[in-house]
């Protein structure tokens, strides 16, 4: 199931470029939050695929955030891997409160949280110094794109 980067390698790469502007908020336009402080020093690689674009943002801390935007520019998924989890309120945007309300509280599985609603899926795992996560809007996935493509 896990084929890291297979989604990129297998698709036609139309463009790849580096920029000093960054963005990553679920449900917003891909250019909406370029001024966010956590991204001020980040580097970005943009890869355009057939039905969506991936912005890969390398934070100074080493955490990699990938933003998936449809051709309409709307961010339908964000993933992250690295030593620090991102600011979730910024990353999830207006969906943060839904996530926080739905996340199980006070249980002993500290290291995994899954929230699955019809409009929002958030899956977070890891432990201190190493976190991974994936958040997406199931109803906004472009045709042919599955959760497994979001790495």
């Amino acid at each position: 199931m896990r084929q890291k980067y297979a989604g990129l390698a297998g698709a036609a790469v139309l463009a790849a470029l580096w920029s000093c502007v960054a963005s990553a908020t679920l449900g917003q336009q891909e250019s909406s939050i370029g001024a966010e402080p956590q991204l001020a020093n980040a580097s970005i690689k943009e890869t355009a695929l057939g039905s969506y674009r991936v912005h890969e943002i390398l934070q100074p801390s080493g955490t990699v955030i990938r933003e998936y935007a449809g051709l309409d520019g709307k961010v339908f998924a964000v993933t992250w891997h690295g030593p620090f989890s991102p600011n979730l309120r910024q990353t999830l945007g207006s969906y943060f409160d839904q996530y926080a309300a739905a996340a199980p509280a006070g249980r002993q599985d500290r290291n995994h949280v899954q929230v699955r609603a019809s409009n929002l899926v958030v899956q977070v795992g890891g432990h201190m110094r190493a976190y991974s996560g994936r958040a997406y809007l199931p109803q906004a996935l472009p045709n042919g794109v599955t959760a497994g493509d979001l790495e």
């Binding site: 006070g106 002993q108 500290r110 432990h127 201190m128 110094r129 996560g133």
Partner: protein, 373 residues
């Protein structure tokens, strides 16, 4: 070798650990121990039980309500107080870094930076902290323990990066008043450490030993946490399997044909968490991320070693069928939200002697970080 280190008479380097219901009597597969904390340089001490033993984090953290002593808050060179935001996946814990002498079994570490969570001296959680995870964990009820002792394979909770950078989300804050706090860099030696590294001896790692647990589970399980590896006659390395750990704490697991590079062995996870579409998940509310096979299912995964792999057999039972009076259940498993990860939680430790060597520290079989069993 089993005879290695035998020339040194053991100090008291063993503390009891146990799987119990914990302070809230509602947990499964959570390992606890007892630690003593003392005001620095004094014999004024407090013994605290129900401290979770966690090989997936670093540092000693105690919930403020269980403390009867007032520990001094660590200060930076400019006089500001050092306060920390600790992000776990499921919640955030805010509170000052204090200094305490830590005594566990016969081991002592002096003036250890220890986080006190939910301390009324610093009541205002910065928004950057509350934005880092879904919910606050600053009470015994929400934390599920009186504290946590993080003894994973690294020496600090942040390390070099926080010595020269302020990460996002911010980990360490300099506070000039109870609510005026800004992110700060912190020297590695002032960060909250894996307390084992500050013991005078037996400071290169730990060994957790727990007995096997019957498939049906057990009310409680008792075992030992041994400090040091190859430093005493009771912690010698033998011919165990050594699993290398990368700088993120990850190992690689091969399961069902997939190579899972973000895997880890973690006493702070209460089950095996992995993706297996052939296993049924539970239907009861609150259990839907756990597995509920109709009958106990035997499985195996392979851990990548420096050379070759090691096969680990395990079993998954129904999370809905755990006897109500049982706090240990070896077959607890669930789905893993991270596609590239296999989390070998506390059930992996049942029936094993698991050694965790800390990064940069040597043993007779290698240099940390590694985990051996």
């Amino acid at each position: 070798m089993s005879s290695g280190g035998g020339s040194v008479a053991p100090t008291n380097n063993v503390v009891d650990v146990a799987v119990t219901g914990g302070p809230n009597s509602n947990n499964v597969n959570v390992l606890y121990t007892t630690v003593m904390v003392c005001l620095p340089g004094t014999s004024t001490c407090q013994t605290i039980d129900n401290i979770q033993v966690d090989t997936g984090s670093y540092g000693l953290r105690i919930l403020a309500p269980v403390l009867t002593l007032t520990f001094p808050v660590a200060t930076l060179s400019n006089g500001s107080a050092l306060v920390e935001c600790t992000s776990f996946v499921d919640g955030y814990s805010w509170g000052p870094v204090t200094l305490a002498d830590v005594k566990v079994s016969g081991e002592t570490a002096s003036s250890v930076p220890v986080q006190i969570i939910g301390d009324s001296r610093y009541p205002t959680v910065p928004t950057d902290c509350s934005n880092s995870a879904p919910t606050p964990e600053d009470t015994v009820a929400t934390f599920g323990a009186n504290g946590i002792i993080g003894i994973g394979p690294f020496a600090q909770d942040c390390g070099d990066y926080c010595a020269s950078n302020v990460p996002e989300p911010i980990v360490y804050y300099a506070c000039t008043t109870e609510s005026n706090c800004e992110g700060t860099t912190v020297a590695v030696t002032d960060q909250v450490p894996n307390p084992v590294t500050l013991f005078a001896t037996d400071n290169n790692g730990t060994i957790i030993t727990l007995p096997s647990v019957a498939t049906a589970g057990a009310a409680t399980v008792s075992g030992s946490l041994i400090f040091g590896i190859d430093t005493e006659s009771n912690n010698a390395s033998g011919t165990e399997t050594v699993v290398p750990i990368d700088t993120s704490g990850y190992l690689t697991t091969i399961f069902s044909g997939n190579t899972l590079t973000e895997s880890f062995i973690d006493s702070g996870s209460n089950g095996y968490f992995f993706a297996d579409s052939s296993l049924s998940t539970c239907t009861q509310s609150g259990f839907t991320d756990f597995y509920c096979p109709a009958s106990t299912t035997s499985l195996s995964g392979e851990m990548q070693l420096a050379s070759g792999t090691s096969t680990v057999d395990y079993e998954i039972g129904s999370a809905e069928q755990i006897e109500a009076s049982f706090y240990a259940f070896p077959g607890l498993g669930g789905t893993n939200p991270t596609a590239g990860s296999f989390d070998w939680g506390l059930p992996f430790f049942y029936g094993r002697r698991v050694a965790i060597a800390i990064q940069g520290y040597a043993t007779s079989v290698g240099t940390g970080p590694y985990i051996a069993f």
